[in-house]
């Protein structure tokens, strides 16, 4: 049986997402696929403690990367806009590092940088080059009789973008500082 949950995680909340997916599996639901921005499709399964990990790749992942991660005991089961989802039963893990994709601070920081570079920076560019100019035009009535609709729309977009940029910017910086040696 399949069931879809709606849960929104910000760009920088991937560690919380991993934890949430682990809890779901403990409750007997394993993730099948994720559809942005917030739709998680699960399949019912035997409850089991399974560790979930995500990696973020800004380029196409190569066959040798997938092979290597699988050699390390990870099951790859879905991907979505750069995020790759892996899982491994906790019973197969004998050291703490065995339950991690990244075993040192440096490689964790690099993942944060990949996310910032290919997701947060484009978001900021769209904000300044599209959201702000359009909002200004709408406020100034340049968009004709329906200007108020555009004002509302770009006003909401403005708030969402400001929130996302500030929240993710601060949180990614925090994660980076935590893992920076």
């Amino acid at each position: 049986m399949n069931k879809t949950w709606i849960h929104f995680f910000n760009l920088a909340d991937y560690e919380e997402e991993e934890q949430w997916l682990r809890e779901k599996h403990n409750d007997g639901w394993k993730l099948v696929k994720f559809l942005p921005p917030c739709f998680y499709t699960f399949e019912s399964c035997t409850p089991e403690d399974v560790i979930y990990r995500v990696d973020y790749k800004n380029s196409r992942q190569t066959a040798d990367y997938m092979q290597m991660v699988q050699d390390f005991g990870w099951e790859f089961f879905t991907q979505c806009v750069g995020w790759l989802y892996f899982r491994k039963p906790a019973a197969d893990v004998d050291t703490e590092a065995d339950g991690e994709l990244f075993s040192d601070g440096e490689s964790r920081v690099e993942m944060v940088q990949r996310i910032a570079r290919t997701r947060l920076i484009p978001l900021t560019i769209i904000f300044f080059s599209c959201i702000i100019p359009n909002l200004m035009n709408a406020i100034n009535g340049v968009m004709g009789v329906y200007s108020y609709i555009f004002t509302d729309f770009f006003g909401v977009m403005f708030i969402i973008y400001v929130y996302m940029i500030i929240y993710n910017g601060i949180k990614l910086t925090k994660i980076r500082n935590r893992y920076r040696s």
């Binding site: 040798d64 092979q67 290597m68 050699d71 075993s103 040192d104 440096e106 993942m111």
Partner: protein, 107 residues
């Protein structure tokens, strides 16, 4: 060895050191992790993401080179530059070890 390589790799991370050390004979990522586990009695475990990232970087910087491919697994081997970096690092570790035992190094 150019200044950039020296700045990035000397001193290097523990993962970096073990990966270079193991690549004195050609191996793939998972083989390296198994060897490191054995060498260190399980004290050092390398994650798949860390392994892949380090191998890609070292290949780009010319410390290791592609050797062969076996069933989608890429095998790498140390290059001349990689050996130079490894030797520098081993000397540094020996110095640390001697100093930690209270010995000083003669000039």
């Amino acid at each position: 060895m150019d200044e950039k390589i020296r700045r990035i790799y000397v001193p290097m991370t523990e993962s970096g050191f073990y990966i270079l050390f193991c690549l004195q004979t050609p191996q793939h990522g998972y083989g390296i992790s198994q060897q490191v586990r054995k060498l260190t009695g399980g004290a050092v475990t390398l994650g798949a993401g860390t392994m892949y990232g380090t191998l890609s970087k070292m290949e780009k910087d010319g410390l290791i080179a592609f050797y062969n491919e076996e069933e989608k697994r890429k095998l790498y081997q140390l290059t001349g530059l990689g050996r130079e970096v490894l030797e520098l690092e081993i000397k540094r570790i020996e110095r640390l070890y001697k100093n930690s035992k209270g010995e000083s190094i003669d000039e």
